[in-house]
Amino acid sequence: MTTMAVGSSLLTDLLSAPRPAEWASLREAAELRLAGRQLPATRDEDWKYTDLKALAAGAFGAAPKAAVDISGHLLPEMVGTRQVFVNGHHAPHASCASAVPAGVRYFPMSHASEACHALGSVGNGAAKGLFEDLNTARFEDGAVILVPKNLKVALPLHLLFVTKAESPVAVFPRLLVVLERGAELELVEEHHGEGPYLSCPVVEVHVAEGAVLRHERVQRESPEAFHLATLRAEVGKGGQYHSRTLSFGARLSRQEPRVRLAEGAEATLDGLALLDGTQIADTHSFLHHAEPGAISRQLHKCIVDGRARAIFNGQVLVAKGAQGTDAQQQSRNLLLSEAARVDTKPQLEIYADDVKCSHGAAVGQLDPEELFYLQSRGMNADDARNLLTYGFAADVLTHVPVASLRRSLRQLVMARTQAGSLGDLA
């Protein structure tokens, strides 16, 4: 079959790049698992709506070191807490971590390999995804963040993964976050770039007992890019992991967050995808209530215009014995054109009997009552529609903790929802 042959050649090409020296055993294991594998096809249930043919047809070379101008992406609250990676390599001149409090370890992995012993261990035992293994086999560098016991970090940390490609390249951003018992951290992880490329980020998160991580993830990749991301988080007893994943860019993107909750842990897994043209954005999430008394909240919103397509598959697994689980999932989708499409599927598997689980999915147009309310205040129908569309998306941004980031994201949403003509709503 043609697709398979091309797919295999993509993997072979990517793996033909030299294997970086560090973490040899991790990389060997990943390569072993990749041997003989092919790119997923749409006959795979997990990739039914996300066709990788266009990816398979590409030839992605190794990404060279490059200089980029990041001045447009600096945020005042985080000027001294920034690590920048360009084409997978650490960019020391663009980075500045001088304001990071003592005790926090926040380095490129290439400078602190001794701090990375947890690398590859999150979600151990669970089958690794193909793009996750590709990352492990070939990532050049990445960031490691270690917050020691009971340290509450006041300033948010800013991580920028930038790709600059003239001809197609593949990059493998990597991030390891370890919060020791009682530690607290806010982290902003941004991906953006120019040109044609494949980015396969892998993020591993350990939140120990009682620790709290707030994680903002912003995907603003180039319109020619493929972005296939994996996130694994393990949340210890009473710990909290709150994340918000905002997908604006890339021709094709996929988010695979996989979160395991220990007893009494809490997780938020919110998402927003704003799509137009022929963009595809896929979220396959997995929330594992492994122990009793954990709470999860998931609100996933998509606004789909043009001939774009959004996919949401939200799996929630409540393990046997995970009594007192409280899980809520909402998938809400707004279609702005006839040809736009959303496929949404909640997937609850519950093996405990004393649980509170709810899920809901809605696909549709704007609410006529809301439209009328705005019109009754003097806004014409177009303005009312644009304002509500903006609000539908901006709702997910209300609690973004960093003010300048919240403002810039709202402005981005304004530009993408034609709400710009309404003046400054940010």
Binding site: Q375, G378, N380, A381, G391, L425
Partner: protein, 254 residues
């Protein structure tokens, strides 16, 4: 200002208004009272152009113009306003941004200068004092998670921002405690001027102690059964609605 003649309207094919006649002149305050389900709210919503209702007959002139030739947003920009019984929540849109947008759309229509965010900030801080609203409600999403009372406060704030010529206030007192009702009632009184008019829709006469109407109408079964001065409100408070309905039935039978 407003002249309603033999107005009939229905929702999903069911008639709700069955021939309403009402004249409201500038400077007047009218109260429409009546039992639940009588069509009071429908009358207000029909006047401001709610899409769920179909006007099936009659005529409404607003400042000499056929009201039904105007879309809902045009009516609003022409000075018509309704404070709703159940205001809608709009997540993601900050109250302040919404109020500024609404203000500027109206200013634009009237050929007045629009306000930039800083100018509007000064303007709105005067207005929130009028309704005793806490500043934090400006930064929150429009009505989202507001209590019933806070939503009503926000409706009157919108009225204060838009300064309508004709304001229809639907069940303003529901969800309000006595103190909040007095504050909002007094705010409405301050906004009333000789060139403006008010139509108060209410089941309970309580609110009419603060906002005192010159005219009280009892609406039931989609018709105005009785119109009188403000003493009618006191009588309704003492005796309820049944006697008006009985009187009307007797009158109809005669």
């Amino acid at each position: 200002m407003l002249s309603i003649k033999n107005l009939t309207a229905s929702i999903n094919g069911t008639p709700v208004l069955k021939g309403i006649d009402l004249e409201i002149k500038a400077g007047e305050i009218h109260a429409i009272m009546g039992p639940n389900g009588s069509g009071k709210s429908t009358l207000g919503k029909v006047l401001v152009g709610h899409p769920a209702y179909e006007v099936t007959g009659g005529e409404v002139l607003y400042e000499g113009r056929n009201l039904f030739e105007l879309a809902a947003d045009e009516r609003a920009r022409a000075g018509l306003f309704m404070g709703f019984q159940h205001p809608i929540e709009v997540p993601g849109v900050s109250n302040a941004a919404f109020l500024r947008l609404a203000y500027n759309k109206k200013a634009e229509a009237e050929g007045r200068d629009e306000l930039d965010p800083l100018e509007f900030d000064d303007f709105i801080h005067e207005k929130i004092k009028l309704v005793s609203m806490k500043e934090e409600f400006l930064d929150r999403s429009l009505n989202e998670g507001f209590s019933g009372g806070e939503k009503k406060r926000n409706e009157i704030l919108q009225m204060a921002v838009l300064e309508p010529k004709l304001a229809i206030l639907d069940e303003l007192d529901s969800g309000l405690d006595i103190d909040a009702l007095r504050v909002l009632g007094e705010a409405v009184n301050k906004l009333q001027r000789p060139d403006r008019a008010l139509l108060i829709i209410t089941h309970f006469p309580r609110i009419l102690e603060t906002i005192q109407p010159q005219f009280v109408h009892v609406l039931s079964g989609g018709r105005i059964l009785k119109s009188a001065g403000k003493e009618l409100a006191t009588e309704l408070e003492d005796r309820g609605y049944d006697w008006v309905l009985e009187e009307a039935a007797a009158g109809g039978a005669r």
